[in-house]
Amino acid sequence: MKIAFLGLGIMGRPMALNLLKGGHDVTVWARRAESMLPLQEAGADTATSPAEAVRGAELVISMVADAPDVLDVLRQAAPGASAGLVAVDMSTIAPAAARNIHDELAALGIDFMDAPVSGGEVGAIAGTLSIMAGGSEAAFARAQPAFECMGKNIVHVGGSGAGQVTKAANQIVTGMGVLAVAEAFAFAAKNGVDRSKVREALLGGFAYSKILENHGQRMLDRNFKPGFKSWMHEKDLNIVMQTAHELGLCLPGSAATAQMFNAMVGSGLGEEDSIAVLKLLERLSGQA
């Protein structure tokens, strides 16, 4: 399939490479021309504008930072679109923003689907991302062969915005999950108990989770290299809290967690992995 790929950051680059590996005909565009070089070497065509990138494409995929960027690149792409173009945005943005973009592009004859991912850079490179899609059946059918090159657990959740709602729910669970494991470890340590033994014991019971297993191990190793940067988790939790505010939704746990991530960004831990919330807890409890 002829696919345009817009945005070649930490996530976008390996995702586009996996599309090439899957045998698709990929044209890439990125704001900084040098980010296109590795893709060009791997056999992708390059474009000088989003409009040029989508010319003749059946599918365009965007992977950028935030809602204004998504809107900006897709507005730029629209004049080059062929009839029946499907646009899939895999960035993490607010559900309401995704629905607005869907409606704006629908008026231009472009079928927009939100399909954010979970799994981080590792998942993007390995092609094992979880993909949560929101939009029409037709858009999902068009995008599915591309999704299969980039991810493993691919779910068409519902209509427009449903993918972003799912991603926000994912960030609630992972945000509170990381904080819960960090609190359990801080609790054990201040009680003079070996955290690694606590982890080992908990892995066999109802507290088992991937976060306890993987993030917990990295906390024990004090390996705070990202992974998933805490400023990005803060951004995502802000989407959660903003949505809760608009809907009249009481989320006390998410609110407390969002403030911990807010404090991380404000105290210089923003570029570290979100497990660095352990460092913040230790500071607050005089364990640092």
Binding site: E234, N238, M241, Q242, A244, H245, L247, G248, L249, C250, L251, P252, A255, A256, A258, Q259, M260, N262, A263, V265, G266, S267, G270
Partner: protein, 284 residues
């Protein structure tokens, strides 16, 4: 002086009347003409027309977007106000929006002050508002005689936007105090103790506060009819959360209270008084 006033709601209307009573020539514009009923003022067709005729214009408007539209939009104040005139924005909006509006008006030589107020509807009626000003000191001095018609405590906080930061701080303390009062009333009632007596005793001690007096009284009487509508505090907490986020400052208590306000909104109590935080506690 010819004074313009936009935003004649619960707060704005008594404020405008004080200015008129002090002998100023009042010009008004309202999106809904119904809000002008009973006012003996010069009615203008657009904010721009109002701006053309006035030396000083006051705005008391609910949202950041609406203030921006009235100030800078088509037929907005900036299309009419002369260089050297002053816009005094008494709305509670985001500090960064206030700074942006001030900068745009500044390009045309129009001065701006953010001057949000605290004291509620009663404070507006009694002309006892606390006024927190952001902008140039010299501009504040020019309009100080006007502000003195509205309140007694007028503090120059700092440059544009600083008044809104102070107002955000005010809202955090006040609504958290309302929540604390609600929790105390809830605990007293659940323990089978007379809330009115508890409130009466507390009023003489270290927990005494204006919030305990006013909001505690509403809770005791279960009078949830709005003074200031809870939806406005909910709106303000959205601004506070965003300000906290921009500064990277943790606010665990404010965040918890914010969730209680979300719950209040979900119950459809947004147009009732914020004392309804007591009713939120009673849901659990």
């Amino acid at each position: 002086m010819k004074v313009g006033f936009i935003g004649l709601g619960v707060m704005g209307r008594p404020m405008a009347l004080h200015l008129q009573r002090a002998g100023h020539e009042l010009h008004v514009w309202a999106r809904r003409p119904a809000s002008l009923e009973g006012l003996a003022a010069t009615v203008c067709a657009t904010p721009a027309e109002l701006g053309r005729q006035c030396e000083v214009v006051f705005t008391v408007i609910t949202s950041s977007a609406d203030v921006e539209a009235v100030a800078l939009g088509p037929d907005g104040l900036s299309a009419g106000m002369a260089a050297g005139s002053v816009l005094v924005d008494c709305s509670t909006i985001a500090p960064d929006v206030e700074r942006r509006i001030a900068a745009r008006l500044g390009e045309q030589g129009i001065h701006m002050l953010d001057a949000p107020v605290s004291g509620g509807a009663q404070g507006a009626i009694d002309a006892t508002l606390a006024i927190m000003a952001g902008g140039e000191a010299a501009v504040l001095e020019r309009v100080r005689p006007l502000l003195a018609c509205l309140g007694q405590r007028i503090v120059h906080i700092g440059p544009n936007g600083a008044g809104q930061v102070a107002k955000a701080c005010n809202q955090m303390i006040m609504v958290a105090a309302i929540q604390a009062t609600a929790e105390a009333m809830r605990l007293a009632a659940a323990a089978g103790v007379d809330c009115a007596r508890v409130k009466q005793a507390l009023a003489g001690g270290s927990a005494a506060s204006r919030v305990l007096d006013v909001m505690g009284e509403r809770m005791v009487k279960r009078d949830f009819a709005a003074g200031i509508e809870a939806r406005l505090h909910h709106k303000d907490f959205g601004l506070v959360r965003e300000a906290a986020r921009q500064s990277g400052v943790p606010m665990p208590l404010t965040a918890a209270v914010d969730q209680q306000l979300n719950s209040l909104m979900a119950q459809g109590w947004g147009r009732d008084d914020t004392a309804s935080l007591l009713r939120v506690l009673e849901l659990a």
